[in-house]
Each structure stands twice: as structure tokens, then as C-alpha cells.
């Protein structure tokens, strides 16, 4: 039987990801679109051929088994609590919440309610990320000495609410937004870090450039650079004692491997799926977990761990080092 879902929040992520993914999947039935702005929900419903629109979870609670929460994070806790009180399963957009305290409460409430709460940590569904996870587990890379992540491009996501730039809606910028995926990968591959150093370029607002250093058990050092103002190489590089691995962030089908001085490009999937396909894979994993009772690929606990780490980063924040002899001290470019 197909899982009956409603999508709560009709912003860009619903339009470009969750709605087309739900329509593409044969494991779910999209019952309704829910948004406080009924006009927006109606426009998307008409465009995608969804028959029902509502303004509240209350109105759909009896007709669905699960919700996709695709709203900005500041209202996620309220919505998650409400959904869980109606016994609904949840697939939550990232980040799970704006801070660790809220994230912890959501995770706890889901556990108490005995409902599945899966996180939209989409990168766990990408072929080259899983391939690396297997390499690490099998010990094929040897001890990993260093990880380098450089992820960035000038912001272009067509956000409707602009939440990721608004201090009234989020406590952080690029780290809390695009930073979730690379941090989730590091936590997935290496566990929780033992130490960190963090600097960003916020000057009273939300950061758009980040440099983060993490130390993991076994001596693995990770350096992460994130930007939403400039184009970076968009690569993840792992230097192991036995081999080096390079992953293009936006091409899941390929893994570059350097072993014994020889470079090879290993194809780990027939093609790099489009964004909707990876969202659909996540939705299907969610549906399957509800049916079988298995743990989702990214759980509430995983969501909580990333938010906790981000909280720690903001707590350890240092201003970005200025160019030497900067004629305008206090101003960073």
C-alpha cells in the first residue's frame, strides 16, 4: 500500500524537490499541499496536478500517514510537535531545528511518539558518498590523515521567504544552510569530532563564508571551506594512508582514486541522478522504513548531531582574519 503524505510548506524546496519527487515515486501518494499562504499552495497544486490544498496540519491529519516538513526551520518544532501529537511520521527538511535544544526536543518527542522521523540529509543517498562510506568501513583507505572539503558557489537558490538570509528566522547563514550536508558526511564517516576551530565573515549578521577545522579520533583532521559568495572547487578529498579519494560534490557517479601514484576515475553509478531523483530516493527510504520499521538512512539523531556541531561552531566563533594592514579595520570583504 502506498504511503499517503502531505507536504507542509510550499517554498522553493517543495516546488523543486519534494512535490516532483513525490509525483515521480510509486511508493507514495501526495494527498495535499499545506501552506499558510493558500494562494501559493494553490498555484503549486494547479501546476503539479495536486487535488487538495490546506492551510493547517489539522485539516489533513486524518487523511495522511506522514508529512514532509519543508518549511523554514524556525517553525519546524511547532509543526513537528503538532504532527507527532496526531501520530504522523515525519520527513524533515534540514536543519532539524535552529538550535540543538529544539532539535533535541523534536528528536525526543518523535521517539516517545514511536514515529519515524527521517532527515532530508539528501547527500547520504548519493552513490559516491555511500561508496566512500564502504571504503572507510572496509579499511581500504587506511587511516585517514586529512579531509578537505571546499563547497561553494554564488547563492542562487530561489528561496521565497529568504529565511537563510534573515536573522529573524535563523541564527546562522551558510553553515546552517549549505553546511549541513558536508558536516553530516563527516559525522557519518568519522563520528563526532574531538576538537574544532571555526571562523566566519559575519559582521553582526549571518555568515556567508566559513572556514572550519575539525579533529576526529584517530588523528583525522578535516578542513572545511564553505561559501555562498564565490565558486569553490566543490570537491571532497580524503587522504588515507593507502589511498586518496576525491569526490565531486555535484556528480555522484564518480570517485577519483589515487593509489600507488596512479590516478583512476571510478564510476560508481551509471549516471549522476538529478536533484528530484535523489529526493525521491530519500522519500522512498522513508516510506520503506515506515512499512518495515527499519531505521531511515538519516535519523532524527543524525539531524540533532549536525545541529549540535553547528551550535558548537557558532560558540567557538572567531572573526575571520583580516588581510594584513587592512586600511579599514573592522571591515571584511
Amino acid at each position: 500500500m502506498k504511503l499517503r503524505i502531505a507536504i507542509v510548506g510550499c517554498g522553493a524546496i517543495a516546488e523543486l524537490g519534494h512535490i516532483p519527487a513525490a509525483l515521480r515515486s510509486d511508493k507514495v501518494t501526495l494527498v495535499a499541499l499545506v501552506d499558510a499562504d493558500l494562494g501559493r499552495a494553490a498555484r503549486l497544486a494547479e501546476r503539479f496536478g495536486v487535488s487538495r490544498t490546506e492551510t493547517s496540519i489539522e485539516s489533513v491529519k486524518s487523511d495522511v500517514d506522514a508529512l514532509v516538513i519543508a518549511t523554514p526551520p524556525h517553525i519546524r518544532k511547532t509543526l513537528a510537535f503538532e504532527a507527532l501529537s496526531h501520530g504522523l511520521h515525519l520527513l524533515c527538511e534540514k536543519p532539524l531545528a535552529n538550535n540543538a535544544q529544539d532539535a533535541e526536543q523534536i528528536a525526543k518527542r518523535a521517539e516517545e511518539a514511536g514515529r519515524i522521523l527521517a532527515m532530508a540529509h539528501t547527500h547520504r543517498f548519493l552513490s559516491n558518498r555511500s561508496y566512500v562510506q564502504n571504503l572507510l568501513q572496509s579499511g581500504e583507505l587506511g587511516r585517514v590523515r586529512r579531509v578537505l572539503i571546499e563547497q561553494g558557489e554564488p547563492a542562487s537558490w530561489p528561496t521565497l521567504s529568504g529565511y537563510t538570509y534573515r536573522r529573524d528566522m535563523v541564527p546562522g547563514g551558510v553553515l546552517l544552510d549549505e553546511g549541513i550536508h558536508p558536516l553530516d558526511m563527516l559525522l557519518w564517516w568519522f563520528g563526532e569530532p574531538e576538537g574544532l576551530s571555526y571562523e566566519d565573515d559575519s559582521v553582526g549578521g549571518l555568515e556567508s563564508n566559513v572556514r572550519l577545522g575539525l579533529q576526529f579520533a584517530g588523528g583525522t583532521e578535516a578542513n572545511v571551506r564553505l561559501s555562498r559568495t564565490c565558486l569553490l572547487p566543490n570537491l571532497i578529498k580524503l587522504e588515507g594512508e593507502r589511498a586518496e579519494v576525491t569526490i565531486p560534490i555535484y556528480n555522484e557517479a564518480v570517485v577519483g582514486i589515487k593509489r600507488d601514484g596512479r590516478n583512476t576515475n571510478k564510476k560508481v553509478a551509471k549516471r549522476s541522478r538529478d536533484y528530484v531523483d535523489s529526493v525521491a530516493a530519500q522519500l522512498e527510504d522513508f516510506a520503506e522504513c515506515i512499512e518495515t520499521g527499519q531505521r531511515p538512512k538519516a535519523t532524527a539523531e543524525d539531524g540533532l548531531k549536525v545541529v549540535k556541531l553547528i551550535d558548537q561552531c557558532y560558540g567557538a566563533r572567531n572573526d575571520r582574519v583580516l588581510p594584513e594592514n587592512a586600511p579599514l579595520p573592522g571591515l571584511t570583504w
Binding site: G152, G162, R166, D201, V203, S208, P327, L331
Partner: protein, 364 residues
């Protein structure tokens, strides 16, 4: 720090753009002003959202959002501008300007600084031209609508008593400058950038932080009201010096040059224009082979020929004229009435720009 802005409520339109975002940063961090920014596209707010400025969703063509953003503001910096097709330029540069001016009158703001452009005087103003020189419509949507927008601002000054000051910057460069820094650096790297007449033309560019100094002065100096100002880095360098500075950052020591007086230039303009139209006509690629292969091949070949011929005329006509121009600008009014002096000389500004370009991965 210019001073006079501490605690003053300020609205910046176009505050997510290149010049506006730097103005916002300086107002918030250095001047301690209470700044509001009208945000049209959120994705463009990545720079300005780093500050504590209030970001208000809106659009200069929407009177309601402008009114909301302007409420309680004492100073308005109108930096919003549109480029592209005529309709878009008219909507933003003329009608949008009208909306902001009208709202400023209703709010009773004490200062209104309108950001115009040197282009209102055409690509080659006469030698020693000053701010009283005639406007010269170019037939270009951006330039012509900027003239209309500025005329509107003067109308509001004369008829409604709005205390307007107009800044007419020249070619604004430095960190985040799309046309006079990022694009040239990227093209110089690829060997696609040329000087005109070996770069002997006088470069009246202005480094963005020098310009922001002048804009800030314009918002507080009483003598500024009712006046327009040219702002440059002092005008003491050539295009060769300017572009060589950018070229050095990417390890390029000499740039090719095209002649503005070559007999080949009109032919090159004609041919590149014609080839451009052919490429545009062939923009759709058929799905089926062999037509797909053929179209792509022919298009590639035409593009190569266009690129080759284009070396004789690397820029549109007005830009070729601008680069070849050796006339000086009289910028004494900004010095006399605003007390403006360029804070950064060319070398210092190049250094700052290089640091930023390196940090933002443009030089690797």
C-alpha cells in the same frame, strides 16, 4: 569614517548590489547608522546579510514596500538600478526612481542621494567636462533611462523641495565589481581581454571604497544639496595602468591591443554583428542526428571565426570610444563642496582588490 550617521535611520535601495552592499557595510559597521535595505531577490543578499542591517523584502516599483521601508528614515541612498532590455530599464530606473522619490517626499526625509552615472554624458565627454555638461543620450536602454531617472530626481528637488544630491560615478571597480574587475580578470586569464590603442586612453575609474566615501559625504554635507558630483580616483592613470594591474594578479605581463582608428574596425563590427545574429538564429539544437552534429559543428565554426574577427573590435562601439578617449574630467566640485579626496591610490586599491579576488577564488 565620514561621521554624522550615528543612530541615523537610513534606507538603501539597491543595497544588495555591488555598490549598495558596500555602502550598507560601511554605514552599519563604520558609521553606526541604523540601516534598512530593500531586498528584491533574496539570493542576492549573501553579502549584505552578513551585517546587522534590517532587510526588508520589497521592490522599488512597489510603492507599499518602499513606503514601509522608508518609514522613519532620515536619509535615503537610491542605488537601485536595472540593466537589460528597455522595458526593464524603464521600470526600474525611471518608474522605480519615481516611486522612491515620491515616498521620500511623503516621509519628509532630510537627504536624498541619487546614484546616477557618468554615462549620462555619453562615452566621451568633452575635455575638462564638468557636472554642468549636457546629457548625451546614447540610444542605449541603461544610459537613456538613467538620464530620465536623474531628471526626475531634479524635478523633485525643484518642484517639491526634496533635498536631492546626485552622484555620477565613473567606472566603479574593486571587490565585487562585475564589469570592471571580475569579468576582466576572468577574461585576461583566458587571453580574451584587449587594450584599446595600447591603453593610452585616460581611465576615469573609481575604486568602490573611494566612491562610498563620496556617497557618504553627499548624505551629510549641507553644500551637497542641489548638486551633482563626478567621483573618480583622481583620473591620474591610463587604461593600460589599470588593466595591467589586474593582469599582474593572474600572472599576465602584457595584453594585446586593438586600434580604435583601424580601417578594419567598421568591417569587424559589421561581421561580428552579422555572425552573432547567425549564431542566435541557430541557437536551437536539433535533437536528431546528424542534424544535431551538423548544427553544433557549424555553430562552433562560426563562433571561432567571430572570435578571430572580434579581436579587431573587442568591445561595442561606445566602449571602444571610451577606452580610446583621452579627455579629462573636472572633478573639482566634489573636492570643493564634499571635501572628497580619494582615500586609496591605484596601488593600494589594487592590493585590496587582489586580496579579495584571491580570497574569493578568482585568481586560482
Amino acid at each position: 569614517m565620514v561621521g554624522g550617521y550615528e543612530g541615523v535611520r537610513v534606507l538603501v535601495t539597491g543595497g544588495t548590489g555591488f555598490i549598495g552592499s558596500r555602502l550598507v557595510e560601511r554605514l552599519v559597521i563604520e558609521e553606526k547608522a541604523e540601516v534598512r535595505v530593500l531586498v528584491h531577490h533574496w539570493a542576492k543578499a549573501a553579502w549584505v546579510s552578513r551585517t546587522s542591517a534590517d532587510l526588508i523584502e520589497g521592490d522599488v516599483t512597489d510603492p507599499l514596500s518602499v513606503k514601509e521601508a522608508m518609514q522613519g528614515c532620515d536619509v535615503v541612498f537610491h542605488c537601485a538600478a536595472g540593466a537589460g532590455p528597455l522595458e526593464a530599464c524603464e521600470t526600474i530606473n525611471v518608474e522605480g526612481t519615481r516611486v522612491v522619490l515620491q515616498s521620500a517626499v511623503e516621509e519628509g526625509v532630510s537627504r536624498f542621494v541619487h546614484l546616477s552615472t557618468i554615462v549620462v554624458h555619453g562615452p566621451t565627454p568633452p575635455d575638462e567636462a564638468n557636472e554642468e555638461d549636457a546629457f548625451r543620450p546614447l540610444g542605449d536602454p541603461y544610459a537613456d533611462t538613467k538620464i530620465k531617472g536623474e531628471l526626475l530626481a531634479w524635478d523633485f528637488w525643484k518642484k517639491k523641495g526634496l533635498p536631492v544630491t546626485v552622484i555620477r560615478p565613473t567606472f566603479v571597480w574593486g571587490p565585487r565589481s562585475p564589469y570592471y574587475t571580475i569579468e576582466p580578470v576572468q577574461k585576461i586569464k583566458k587571453g580574451q581581454w584587449s587594450l584599446v590603442d595600447k591603453g593610452h586612453g585616460l581611465c576615469h575609474a573609481v575604486y568602490v571604497d573611494n566612491l562610498v566615501d563620496a556617497i557618504l559625504l553627499a548624505g551629510v554635507r549641507p553644500e551637497a544639496v542641489g548638486n551633482a558630483f563626478f567621483v573618480t580616483d583622481g583620473g591620474g592613470y591610463t587604461w593600460a595602468a589599470f588593466y595591467s594591474g589586474l593582469a599582474r594578479m593572474v600572472g599576465v605581463t602584457s595584453l594585446p591591443s586593438a586600434s580604435s582608428t583601424s580601417w578594419q574596425m567598421p568591417i569587424a563590427f559589421f561581421l561580428t554583428g552579422a555572425l552573432g545574429r547567425i549564431i542566435y538564429a541557430m541557437r536551437r539544437t536539433p535533437k536528431a542526428e546528424p542534424a544535431r552534429f551538423l548544427v553544433r559543428g557549424v555553430r562552433f565554426a562560426i563562433r571561432m571565426v567571430k572570435e578571430f574577427i572580434g579581436k579587431k573590435a573587442p568591445y561595442p562601439r561606445p566602449d571602444m570610444a571610451m577606452y580610446a578617449h583621452t579627455g579629462r574630467l573636472d572633478t573639482s566640485r566634489a573636492e570643493a563642496l564634499l571635501g572628497y579626496q580619494p582615500r586609496y591610490n591605484l596601488d593600494e586599491a589594487m592590493h585590496e582588490t587582489e586580496v579579495w579576488l584571491r580570497d574569493q577564488n578568482y585568481l586560482s
